[in-house]
């Protein structure tokens, strides 16, 4: 019988702790598949964030680092500068990368640091109980915006791809989603492209993944995917925001 579905080598054989309907696990699998397909199992180094996905350091069966909240791009910088031929990526939530770690993210991009940030935008701080994130949509209710996010009071949501695109050091920036199989495929392609651009030494790369958090959105897994599609994508349009000239075509 032909095997159509196997566990990638880079994915450890342990169950995820994520809530039902959480898409963190899908993104982990995509990263692991791309590492396998690129033959990078022995040369890939990942940096885990502080957030729901901290245990990606157990789920990926490669050498891993666990960084302080928001500092993964700085940690990745240190690793990559010592081991320039390795594939170095960080995996970070939106609180991690777009609030407390904005400085590290922006300057890694500005330096054209040859690392890849897998940026999980789930519009909340999930691990700490569903507080407002920089990416929380206007009107969205969270535990710290119980009446819905108001621009006047809470400021406006941050579009990270758009923010990093003008930086000359950014080589590849894409926003993808994983709310249906077609988008999962596109997400995988973007991750592969980012890793390839990194390994070619073109500069900083990031894939922003719109991801679900049914638990903190107060929705069922299915409703969550629908909410992502109907509410998040219009504000956070999918697509490539920066590509190196050669991979443009």
């Amino acid at each position: 019988m032909k095997k159509v579905f196997t566990r990638p080598k880079a994915l450890a054989d342990i169950p995820f702790h994520y809530c039902p309907g959480c898409t963190h696990g899908i993104v982990h699998r995509l990263v692991a598949e791309v590492i396998d397909e690129m033959g990078m199992y022995e040369r890939a180094l990942g940096v885990a964030p502080v957030g729901c996905s901290v245990f990606i350091y157990n789920y990926l069966d490669i050498d891993m680092y666990q960084a302080a909240h928001g500092r993964a791009p700085a940690v990745g910088t240190g690793i990559k500068r010592v081991l320039p031929d390795r594939l170095v990526f960080t995996y970070q939530g939106d609180g991690d990368a777009a609030a407390i770690g904005t400085g590290e993210l922006v300057h890694a991009a500005a330096r054209g640091e040859k690392i890849t940030v897998i940026f999980i935008n789930n519009a909340v701080y999930a691990m700490t109980g569903g507080q407002m994130a920089p990416t929380t949509l206007l009107g969205q209710k969270t535990t710290t915006t119980p009446f819905g996010r108001e621009g006047e009071i809470n400021g406006l949501p941050v579009k990270v791809c758009e923010m990093l695109a003008p930086l000359d050091g950014s080589a590849y920036l894409a926003r993808v989603s994983v709310h249906n199989p077609k988008n999962v495929n596109a997400a995988k392609k973007a991750i592969r492209k980012a890793f390839e651009v990194q390994m070619r030494g073109d500069g900083f790369t990031m894939v922003e993944v719109l991801s679900s958090c049914p638990t903190n959105w107060g929705l069922s897994p299915l409703e969550a995917l629908k909410w992502l599609e109907e509410k998040m994508i219009p504000y956070y349009p999918l697509g490539e925001y920066k590509t190196p000239a050669e991979v443009n075509g």
């Binding site: 180094l45 680092y65 400085g103």
Partner: protein
């Protein structure tokens, strides 16, 4: 080998290079800028990297990454910048990563000033960041000692998988002295099988981590760290004794202060007073052994610091209440003047009479 004239700041850089350090991450701050200036030129000559970070927070975390990847790596800063590094240093200590951090202490608190001080003593020797951890802290008092201790700093860091902090101040950084550099042996970082450099065929997965979510495991980790710190306490105390043997009064001072106190000891001896100096070279582990030894003969101690009284706590702990421990300090970037310290010595020596 011929001696060369060198500034303290340059000696820190050259000492690091000779110790095999090839990575420096840092952010500008006075009074340590000459060290990064030196390394920005020197690192490329030896195939190393000088990288200016966007903040000290980032620098410490770059050090975390580079150390985890197995490199000999350092950073350097002063007061406000060292405060920003505390997060990273705590993670480095938790993940048991070797690295060297230089603190050119300046006047504080807050922005304070850029003049020499020793007011970051507590921060350095009592932990500094969150959690139960220790840094090995070295306190050189001459340019030659800076060169020598830089090598030791990297060796100790690797030996114990622990961050090492070098405490200095603007005086030591600016001071120019002849130094013996020794053979230009380019030390290589030792093998580090724990470093996360990519899965080897059949090899174990390596994880650079300070998270222990299960309290039982976190306690085990803390106990393991505490055992390591105990070993360091037993094996690595270093100090210099100066005219201590028959001394009834012992001065205790480190770094720049110790240089001043040496001159004070000589003046006192010229006037027939039995005064000696203990100069801690490691301020963590604190050289408690020598204090407990000399407290038998010495009748009193005088701790001299460039702060309002920090190291005095460690001296008191070692003296265990058996002798009076006095204090003389200047702070805010002011230096003790030998004449004033001498005045204090004379007064105490004569039983409190001026």
């Amino acid at each position: 080998m011929a001696k060369v004239l060198m500034k303290g700041n340059e000696a820190l850089g050259e000492g690091a290079v000779r110790a095999g350090c090839r990575y420096f991450f840092g952010y500008p701050i006075t009074p340590q800028s000459e060290l990064p200036h030196y390394l920005a030129k020197r690192m490329p000559e030896v195939g190393g990297l000088y990288l200016q970070s966007e903040s000290e927070t980032a620098a410490a975390n770059m050090v975390f990454g580079a150390a985890g990847a197995g490199a000999r790596v350092m950073t350097s800063s002063s007061g406000p910048g060292i405060s920003l590094m505390q997060e990273g240093i705590s993670y480095i200590a938790g993940a048991e990563l070797p690295c060297v951090i230089v603190n050119m202490i300046r006047g504080g608190p807050g922005l304070g000033n850029i003049a020499p001080a020793q007011s970051d003593y507590f921060q350095a020797v009592k932990g500094g960041g969150h959690g139960d951890y220790r840094l090995i802290c070295l306190a050189p008092a001459s340019v030659q000692e800076i060169i020598d201790l830089m090598q030791d700093a990297f060796d100790l860091a690797d030996k114990y998988r622990n961050p090492v902090m070098l405490l200095a101040d603007g005086v030591l950084g600016q001071m120019m002295e002849p130094v013996e550099l020794g053979e230009e042996k380019i030390a290589e970082a030792p093998e580090k099988p724990w470093a996360a450099t990519g899965r080897k065929k059949g090899g174990p997965k390596r994880l650079i981590n300070s998270l222990y979510i299960v309290p039982e495991e976190c306690e085990k980790h803390n106990i393991k760290l505490a055992q390591k710190y105990d070993t360091i306490r037993r094996n690595e105390q270093r100090w210099e004794e100066y005219r201590v043997d028959d001394a009834t009064m012992i001065l205790v001072a480190f770094g720049t202060c110790a240089r001043i106190c040496k001159a004070v000891v000589d003046s006192a001896r010229n006037e027939g007073m039995a005064v000696g100096l203990i100069r801690p070279i490691t301020v963590w582990p604190y050289p408690t052994d020598v204090i407990t030894r000399v407290r038998e003969k010495a009748e009193q101690f005088l701790v001299v610091e460039m702060n309002m009284g920090q190291m005095i706590e460690d001296v008191k702990l070692a003296v265990e209440g058996m002798r009076p421990v006095h204090f003389y300090g200047r702070s805010g970037g002011m230096m003790p003047v030998a004449r004033d310290v001498f005045g204090e010595v004379k007064k105490l020596y004569n039983g409190g009479a001026a």
